[in-house]
């Protein structure tokens, strides 16, 4: 799968942009703040419907305008067109998404069709940061390859919200019909069970891929393991229902649900059972984050048979030259790659047959360097 062409209208600092990519490797070079990441953001938007920087749509509309438009022309087994448009008029946000000209109504029809993986400097937060970021990573990777998982997640969110709202009402007025809570427990257990099962399976596969890529990039003799840390010991619905009834009193005092997929995490540990974050250096953590992303590419390929488009948003400046070489070596796996960087001398296209390089300057002006 590769991205042939991106077209932007009033997106961030680009009024009108059309850019063609090499099927192998494309470099986007320019000083800080000229709009390199904005291009990556637009591509990721046409792939996942949202910004990889997790920023609301309204911020991506060019200042002084009321709407943006992005489209990606993809070459897969057939040509496909992914379009995302968003307008904000009178405070009302409207988003319109199309594949091959046909409007799409649910994310599950869109997600996982144009497959991309973004490497960004803040990926290190997956390793260092809050569990929430690890859950988001986990959910996005599984969702790209499994649309049932995506619909289970949205059902889960609604059930969890409903159960928590019931618990809050209970806290306020007490005389509620408790058999309604039984119903929410039941629904919570059955959708949680499906999510936990999918995550269990995912982490077994991810761990193998992760260890492989870790050995490929780092000089460490041993690669740590990824462990799924679920707040529930079993994925059996009956077991989950029992656990929920055990903590029911506590839940109703707090007004929220104490166990479940919303509390899941994953932990990286070495063979001595020591947490990776407790011993790894800053550089090692950065490598681990990169390895996670490479495992994501591998996982997508093993599940879908498709090579995702890889976008690397300026992570080179943080690596030493040896790691940089290793990284390029590891990324050279047949996927299309789009790099952004500040210094052109980092743009090493040796080993690739076809490369393109663009220079971005102030005002969102792109020049192809030949």
């Amino acid at each position: 799968m590769y991205l042939k062409k991106l077209t932007l209208k009033n997106f961030r600092n680009y009024g009108d942009l059309s850019i063609e990519f090499s099927p192998e490797i494309t470099f986007i070079v320019g000083n800080n703040g000229v709009g390199k990441s904005n291009i990556i953001e637009a591509i990721s938007l046409t792939s996942t419907m949202r910004s990889f920087r997790n920023i609301p749509d309204i911020e991506m509309i060019q200042w002084g305008f009321e709407s943006y438009y992005c489209s990606s022309e993809i070459e897969d087994s057939q040509d496909r067109l992914f379009e995302v448009g968003c307008s904000c008029q009178g405070g009302k946000l409207r988003k319109r998404i199309k594949i091959d000209g046909i409007e799409i109504r649910s994310i599950s029809e869109f997600y996982g069709k144009f497959l991309t993986v973004v490497f960004a400097p803040f990926d290190i937060n997956i390793i260092n940061g809050m569990p929430e970021l690890r859950r988001r990573f986990t959910d996005s990777v599984i969702s790209k390859t499994n649309s049932h998982y995506l619909s289970d997640l949205s059902e889960f969110r609604k059930v969890l919200l409903s159960r928590n709202r019931f618990l809050k009402l209970l806290k306020e007025k007490k005389n509620l019909d408790m058999s309604e809570l039984d119903v929410w427990d039941h629904m919570f257990a059955s959708v949680s069970s499906r999510i936990i099962k999918a995550r269990k399976k995912f982490f077994v596969e991810l761990n193998d891929l992760f260890k492989n890529s870790y050995k490929g990039i780092s000089d460490d003799l041993e690669a740590p393991d990824i462990h799924y840390a679920s707040s529930i010991d079993s994925d059996e619905p009956d077991y989950i229902i029992r656990k929920l009834s055990e903590i029911r009193n506590k839940d109703s005092i707090i007004g929220s649900t104490g166990i479940g997929p919303q509390r899941d995490d994953f932990i990286i540990k070495n063979h001595r059972n020591i947490n990776f974050v407790n011993y790894a250096s800053q550089g090692q953590r950065r490598m681990a984050a990169i390895c996670l992303k490479i495992s994501e590419c591998d996982f997508i390929e093993s599940k879908t048979g498709t090579k995702a488009v890889i976008m690397v948003d300026d992570i080179f400046s943080e690596l030493d030259s040896q790691r940089r070489k290793n990284m390029i070596k590891v990324l050279k796996r047949g996927n299309q790659i789009i790099f952004t960087m500040v210094h052109q001398n980092n743009a090493d296209s040796s080993g690739f047959n076809a490369s393109k390089t663009y220079h971005v300057s102030n005002g969102g002006i792109l020049d192809e360097l030949v």
Binding site: S106, K158, L161, F166, L169, S179, E180, D182, M187
Partner: protein, 199 residues
């Protein structure tokens, strides 16, 4: 855009509160009302008021009725031992239009939804329990939307009513008749497999 008259403004505001009517259509409708002649407008206003003053909730099923009991509940020819539970009065019309159901109905007037502050007590459930307790009911068919709220309500009713020895079933959710598997989204297909029925 500001309306030239506060009367027009008020009408536009009222109309835009109706479902499916945005500010633009509301304004267009309001101007249309203005261009209608007096008797037409009076007739429209009268029908609006009559609809509200002549229609009541059926004392048995909660559906719409011009008397104490709706024509369906009053129809001696209909099966008395099957009740189909729906959310809104308009769902009754939808199922009636199929001509495939010959029992009677029960209208809940909503679904359990904590996010909207709606619990079982806010729904027309008490009288359903009463109908079951009075006897003569063999089966309850739950025909509620396949959403989280619909599922929760179905589960609640199943747990409430099955201990009384009544069979509680749910309509199969899945592929629309005549639809092509290829063009249905995968959630629908998964759902229809999950809810498969024995033939």
């Amino acid at each position: 855009m500001k309306n030239p008259s506060r009367y027009l403004d008020a009408l536009t505001k009222e109309l835009s509160r109706l479902p499916g009517i945005g500010p633009k259509s509301a304004s267009r409708l309001a101007f249309h009302v203005l261009s209608m002649d007096g008797t037409e407008v009076e007739r429209l206003a009268r029908t609006l008021i009559e609809v509200k003053s002549h229609i009541f909730r059926c004392g048995v099923c909660g559906g719409i009725s011009e008397g104490d009991i709706c024509p369906i509940c009053g129809d001696e020819m209909r099966e008395r031992d099957v009740i189909c539970v729906v959310r809104d009065p308009k769902d009754v019309l939808t199922i009636e239009a199929t001509g495939g159901f010959h029992g009677r109905y029960h209208v809940l007037h909503g679904l359990i939804s904590p996010l909207d502050g709606i619990g079982p007590d806010d729904l027309n459930i008490g009288s359903l329990v009463g109908r079951c307790r009075d006897g003569g009911i063999r089966e309850i068919i739950l025909a509620l939307n396949p959403t989280v709220e619909g599922d929760a309500t179905s589960l609640y009713l199943a747990r409430l009513l099955s201990p009384g020895g009544i069979t509680v079933t749910r309509i199969a959710h899945g592929l629309p008749v005549g639809s092509d598997l290829e063009f249905s989204d995968s959630a629908t297909i998964a759902r229809s497999i999950e809810c498969r029925i024995r033939l």
